[in-house]
């Protein structure tokens, strides 16, 4: 089948081709719309990532505190709650159900609700990784910090967390890429992001292949960009001479 990329230059209303492919004033081409949808994807993903990182790090750290069974339990409950319900259902709950139960959410921007949904869902996974990262450090590191006379917050701040975060950069990278992909679920609650665009524009223009190719390419580009950014961070944070003890190394 032949591809017709001209579809992106069409006006979204009267389906007339627009010169230069970008609309002006009140006219909008499918290309304009695509880029705008990409913007929505990026906004949702990045905002959710911030929420997820902040909450996830906090919860993950709390779960490793020594001698605080109640805090640990609360942290565990948080993780179990948010990771055992499908993201899609969580987003529906945030969007359709919570506003009825808790009236303040009724007037909250829908983007905020989606970001909360995606962010907290991901926070559970990040909390898992932060906990695993801290626990993967040799027990001696904690002891060494304590033995130097650091208080608990101090040895977390100066000894455990700096290494734990370095160790979990690879899984955090995939989590950051996941958040981009998972943001596609936001379309179910009418965020006009890339997947929404793919569905709506595919329907309006009947050029599904071209539209899907473009949208898929943008997802791949986004994932790759995140991957590169994290690689730079990983490189910056690398500790000279440190080799993670992965029990033997690969082939």
């Amino acid at each position: 089948m032949s591809l017709d990329w001209q579809v992106f230059c069409l006006d979204t209303i009267d389906k007339e081709a627009v010169k230069g492919c970008f609309g002006s004033g009140r006219t909008q081409t499918y290309l304009d719309w695509l880029l705008q949808a990409w913007g929505q994807t990026v906004i949702v993903a990045c905002a959710s990532l911030v929420v997820a990182l902040v909450v996830g790090s906090l919860v993950g750290t709390l779960r490793t505190l020594p001698d605080s069974p109640i805090v640990t339990r609360l942290g565990n409950a948080w993780v179990e709650l948010f990771r055992n319900i499908p993201l899609l259902v969580q987003i529906f709950l945030w969007y359709h159900v919570l506003p009825v139960l808790i009236p303040v959410f009724a007037s909250t921007n829908k983007l905020v609700l989606v970001v909360m949904g995606l962010g907290l869902f991901t926070s559970a996974r990040i909390a898992e990784q932060v906990r695993a990262g801290i626990q993967s450090l040799p027990r001696g590191q904690r002891y060494a910090g304590m033995a130097m006379g650091f208080t608990t917050p101090q040895y977390y701040r100066y000894v455990l967390l700096p290494m734990a975060f370095r160790i979990i950069i690879p899984p955090l990278t995939s989590e950051a890429m996941n958040i981009f992909k998972n943001s596609s679920v936001a379309f179910a609650v009418s965020v006009t992001e890339l997947t929404f665009f793919a569905q709506q524009a595919g329907e309006e223009t009947s050029r599904g292949v071209e539209i899907y190719l473009a949208v898929t390419a943008l997802y791949v580009i986004s994932a790759f960009a995140i991957n590169r950014i994290m690689a730079v961070i990983e490189k910056r944070a690398r500790v000279p001479g440190f080799v993670a003890n992965t029990g033997g190394g690969g082939h």
Partner: protein, 220 residues
């Protein structure tokens, strides 16, 4: 404000049961298929042979950078046009999930194989085992065992992800709940019920995985 009494046992059975079966079937089939193809992909990537490694790497990384929703749309809407033959929503969902999950399972298996200490590889070789024997008798059994909890955790994620097949109107469990909710005019209650059911299932499964992990830890 919320009323659940319209969701009688009968309503749930007629709307949700079929979807539940489908979600479970989809999960099981794509876990098994995903592990088999994933292991093949992992071995290809570790083979050191560029002809095997490069295509496998492209496939795995490609799949992993596209949202599942998009992959579902691709397979569902375009594959039939390309192959000139229709495939139904549910068949399409199964194919998509196997293809998609293989990429994820392959990464798990690759990590599992690489987590086996180099010394184990040497030990097998030193006993005179061939590459195939070493893989089959020494490396893969350990890799599977090490990765079992992670494989099962991925299966739980997979079960949750089956909810996304709504985009191609395959009739999964969540779909059952939302249709019941829509047609009985209690959509919010339906979402809450769905959340509870998913939570109970997934939480129980992850609890089982934890028990299993503890069991395995003792044997080792």
């Amino acid at each position: 404000m919320l009323e659940f009494n319209v969701f009688t046992w009968d309503v749930l059975r007629s709307f949700v049961l079929h979807g539940f079966y489908f979600s479970v079937t989809l999960t099981i089939v794509s876990t098994l298929g995903g592990i088999v193809f994933g292991t093949v992909l992992a071995l290809m990537r570790l083979s050191g042979n560029k002809l095997l490694d490069v295509p496998a790497t492209i496939y795995v990384n490609g799949m992993r950078s596209i949202p599942l929703l998009m992959v579902l749309l691709w397979f569902f809407l375009l594959v039939p046009i390309l192959i000139g033959r229709p495939i139904g929503a549910e068949v399409s969902a199964v194919i998509t999930f196997v293809a998609f999950e293989a990429a994820y399972f392959s990464e798990i298996m690759r990590a599992g194989i690489q987590s086996i200490a180099r010394g184990q590889v040497f030990a097998g070789m030193a006993l005179g085992m061939t590459y195939g024997q070493n893989m089959h008798l020494v490396i893969l059994p350990q890799a599977f065992r090490n990765m079992l909890p992670i494989l099962l955790t991925q299966t739980i994620i997979l079960f949750q992800d089956t909810s996304l097949v709504y985009i191609i109107t395959a009739n999964d469990m969540l779909h059952g709940f939302t249709t019941a909710g829509a047609n009985l005019s209690h959509p919010r209650e339906a979402y809450i019920l769905a959340a509870v059911v998913y939570f109970v299932i997934c939480y129980s499964l992850s609890w089982l995985v934890k028990r299993l992990q503890a069991r395995i830890a003792i044997i080792r």
